[in-house]
Symmetry: C2
Subunit: 641 residues, 2 copies
């Protein structure tokens, strides 16, 4: 059972419950070779905090004394490991050494018999150099074997591996077929050669296409990915589980993992690492160490690099800043920078999952930042939902690295009095003055020295927008006539523009009906509440300049705009609880507006389109049908509150 | 006494000897408030490895019991600290609280009397908002006080603080006047407000202008810089010492330092830190801790963040990859990205110190990478030293993220047979085929998906070069005539082109005189040795594709090209040692070619321009006159070898 507790990009922070034990994701499972005890499993659990590991059932089965012991006392006792144990099936051995002398049924049964928590089908490893036909045929075999395994699994959980080489359509199709089977985890397989050859941009395509097909209620495991340098990016793309055999393998070869690569002890110029394993040692000491102690120390070092990075990934995910971390990490190698640049091609897919708002500042790290979903969403929304107050524009250059108008306040006023709409050119593209205190604009920080790509694109997008929005002309700030006399209400313009941006034009029209009164903060002077015809319909959050929807506002929208706009429809059984202010859980949702995004304001309705609550979306519309557990909508207030 | 042992960019890894104790630089000195013992100095030394610290002599002097104790037992015993102790003078207090009730002579004398290792003048803190006149006047006062301090210092070392607010000419001038005084360390002062206000691009200007004036035999201390996020960039710019009061101050305010910023405990979403202080604690536990234990834990955490980053800076410096680390770190905040972009304006100054070659791959991290000195140097050298074999060019697009021709080998051959010179468009600009195995071209890795800025600039630079180099036209690979019959020797073209690039055209002509024989590696087929008229004049290194100069080659250059080209002239006393193969030490150098760069091949001559050795430059020409210690040229072979 997998539950999402926090999200960012396509990343999920989750709780994966396996036989009563909880694995908090994103998590990495160290690979334990049952024949080589580099670091005892008990220490992995207690000292390093790894609550799950992987070992290889194929090796155990082919080693008589291990096989007998595992069958006799069970895998957990044999390894002396109290956490979750996943076993691999021999597939990777077939990739490395060719065919294995084993049948799928045998290895699935064996995994079951030794008490594995999560077993693996004997899937076929699709090599990146395979033809499409060869790949498609082998996927059929894997799917057949997976079906058999599902029938046999009993109380064991089962990995249903997504294969498909580098063919995105095959990956998506394989994942979709796996999604409908009774598997428990979606590993993405066959990617080790891509990582070994630094083909990270293709890895991005493989992960993103696989993600399109999977069942979102199951964790996604990127099989064989364990280098700290890839963890942030892979988590951002929605991978939940990782594993590392490298920490021990590299240690035996005297290779040390760092966040920026793996280095041979013999090539290193200095140690200068302050992880708990290395602290106090010099490079010379380490080199002179007796082999076993050296292997042990390097394996520990490698694990500390992993735990260190995983802690950072979790922290950034919690803070909603995982994009920033992934962008930083992708500068560690040009092949990773390629991956980041490739990710922009999947911007629209990313946008479906990316939360509508988050706390704190947003940092631009380079032109690649424009590949974040929030940039695409902003442009789509101002294209579809922005109504210019006048048809003449004044174009202001971006100021001081902020797409933000405060330094221009006087000029804005002059422009508006003369009947012009002020628009600031920013890395987001055009920023109409009415929107400049809203997320993501006001929260974003840019360097004041621009780069050519962002600079050029900012201008291009602005002129594209001016034309599409029907502006009849644009002038520079110097050209604003001095003697404007037009009256305007800047706050009302802002209040309406933000409502249109957030809820669409028809909904905003319903909310701003009749006489409008804006209640301002005494401290900041900013809009706090919108009262329409005496009804309090909206409140504006100080943090992100976006609205929370009140029940009165929800009713207006339901009356004026046909379903499914902004609706999440719940089963009748749930109505009493939700209207009482309880959260909406996924399994009680009948249907919902497919255009909703995480953190978006929603209207919870019953089957007859009566509004029963307002709240914020937590899951995506496409996740909800899959989820067996967890909150779909965080309800703010119910109709009975 | 300060000695440079390794270098990269303008960074120096050094040994600073103070009263018989060695401080290895770059180093950070934690600030110890003598009244608040957050972490005992003995622990700073033993547990955290800080071999030097700073404390405040002004506070000690103004606290009767501390003053009496310090005068009685000395500062080291009072603090129980065996390392190097630097003291500040009260200047920062004057910045914080206005005038201090103290004379320069008094505080200098007091520092001397309590046994400070490195004392500080009572300089005047130049605020960033000061006018230029005000700043210039206060610098005069600081210079006068510094002169007095130098006369009084005795066996104490003294800090001569570079001031000058944000005025680059004043900074440079102040540093130059300090350089001629008998001070021991060059702190750069008055920068804390810039850092507090995230004005990092101005900090870059301040550091770079100060560096232009200083005496290079002294360490440079960036006063008040202690946040891990700034250490890589500041070290790259040639700062050797740092200090941090923040680790303890922030701890008292419950603020935790991380590589990407400082976060308030109350704002944090999760702890997820695996430093030795935090390991095993949750955010909730930490918040609930009793105040003193909490302060202590956070102070330790902050110190671990600093030591962790400093270790990384040292590792990258050792590996010659500090540019990469600084570029990564500058993505942590848009204001730091601004600083990185500003650094490009100082590219020419940087280029004077940047080593001519280094081991290992060079990673491109974004368009900012083109601001590295090696890009400028490459363009200057092909402009001045490249001779086109023919006057018609074929322009090849960059391939697979490498400015490297191997995939084009057949097309290159076809082009050359048809009388064309193949040129690859790369992020470096134009790469003539003859140069493509040479540092930095062959060692560089780029993403295969280009960004607009680098893409546009690559083309612009290529067309600029074609015109300047006298090419009469350029075609695309598809336009190469099939039936070329021109004969050419690709290796000889390469051998000559690299020699011109490295030593200049006249020197290369002298080296490639008469009959040329190229000795190739049996294994790789690449050029190894150049024999000219039977004399072995050059060897080509496999690592970077550049030459080492043999004595026979050196003699040819001395005969053909007038001094000072490539010369380092040593005193007569040193000649017997150097001609015997010993390294050249700075204090024995009489003069040298001002165009030499670190790691460049040089010819050591006596006063009569007789070559006595060949070797590689280690210091820069402008450092040599200042250095009292350390190797200037690493000699490969002497004339008597």
């Amino acid at each position: 059972m997998f539950e999402i507790v926090k999200r960012d990009g396509m990343a999920r922070m989750g709780k994966f419950e396996v036989h009563g034990k909880i694995v908090e994701t994103p998590a990495l499972l160290p690979v334990v070779n049952p024949k080589i005890n580099t670091i005892p499993p008990r220490e992995l659990y207690e000292k390093f905090g790894f609550k799950a590991l992987i070992t290889n059932s194929y090796i155990i089965r082919n080693t008589p004394e291990l096989r007998d012991k595992a069958l006799e006392v069970g895998l957990h006792e044999m390894l002396d490991y109290p956490g979750v144990i996943m076993t691999d099936s021999g597939t990777f051995q077939s990739h490395m050494y060719g065919e294995v002398d084993l049948k799928n049924e045998e290895i699935v049964q064996f995994q079951h018999d030794i008490g594995t928590d999560i077993g693996t089908v004997l899937d076929i490893f699709t090599e990146p150099f395979w033809t499409k036909e060869q790949t498609a045929e082998s996927i059929e075999v894997t799917l057949g074997r997976t079906k058999v395994a599902c029938d046999m699994k009993g109380d064991m959980l089962i990995n249903g591996v997504v294969q498909g080489s580098i063919y995105q359509d095959l990956r998506e199709d394989c994942a979709r077929k796996m999604a409908s089977m009774d598997i428990d985890v979606h590993p993405i397989g066959g990617v080790v050669p891509l990582m070994e050859q630094y083909r990270y941009s293709e890895l991005v395509d493989v992960v993103m296409s696989s993600k399109r097909g999977i069942n979102h209620s199951r964790p996604v495991h990127l099989f064989g990915a364990g280098h700290p340098m890839i963890l942030a990016l892979a988590t951002l793309m929605g991978c939940d589980l990782f594993d590392s055999a490298g920490y021990a393998k590299f240690a035996r070869d005297e290779r040390m993992m760092f966040i920026d690569g793996t280095f041979r002890l013999s090539d290193m110029q200095s140690l200068d690492c302050d992880c708990p394993a290395c602290r106090g040692h010099t490079l010379q000491e380490l080199r002179r160490m007796e082999k076993k102690a050296k292997t042990r120390l390097i394996a520990e070092h490698n694990l500390y690099q992993i735990t260190h990075e995983l802690a950072l990934v979790r922290r950034y995910l919690q803070e909603g800043r995982l994009w920033e971390l992934a962008e930083l990490r992708c500068r560690a190698h040009p092949a990773l920078l390629d991956a980041l640049r490739r990710l922009k091609e999947h911007q629209a897919q990313m946008e479906l999952s990316d939360p509508i708002s988050r706390d704190g500042a947003i940092f631009y790290t380079g032109p690649e930042s424009r590949g974040r979903p929030t940039y695409l969403r902003y442009l789509q929304r101002i294209r579809d939902r922005y109504v210019p107050p006048t048809d003449k524009a004044v174009i202001f250059p971006e100021c001081q690295g902020k797409p933000y108008s405060r330094p221009y306040a006087e000029d804005f006023d002059k422009a508006r009095r003369a009947g012009f709409t002020p628009i600031v050119v920013s890395p987001f593209g055009p920023v109409p003055a009415e929107l400049d205190e809203m997320y993501p604009l006001a929260q974003s920080l840019f360097p004041s020295i621009p780069d050519m790509e962002t600079d050029t694109e900012s201008e291009r997008l602005t002129f594209q927008f001016l034309s599409a929005a029907g502006f009849k002309g644009a002038i520079t700030p110097e050209q604003i006539p001095e003697d404007g006399t037009m009256e305007y209400d800047a706050d009302l313009l802002r209040a309406k523009a933000v409502a249109r941006y957030q809820f669409g034009i028809p909904a905003a029209d319903a909310l701003f009906r009749g006489e409008i009164q804006l209640v301002r903060s005494k401290k900041t002077g900013k809009i706090r509440n919108v009262i329409s015809d005496g009804e309090h319909v909206l409140s504006m959050r100080a943090g992100d300049g976006l609205y929370t929807l009140r029940m009165e506002g929800a009713k207006r929208i339901v009356e004026a705009v046909p379903a499914p706009h902004m609706r999440v429809v719940v089963m009748d059984d749930a109505v009493p609880f939700v209207s009482d202010g309880r959260n909406v859980f996924a399994q009680f949702v009948l249907s919902c507006d497919q255009n909703l995004r995480p953190m978006e304001e929603v209207i919870v309705t019953d089957g007859k389109d009566n509004p029963v609550a307002t709240g914020r979306m937590f899951l995506t519309p496409f996740e909800i049908p899959f989820m067996k557990k967890g909150m779909a909508v965080k309800v703010r207030s119910g109709s009975d509150d």
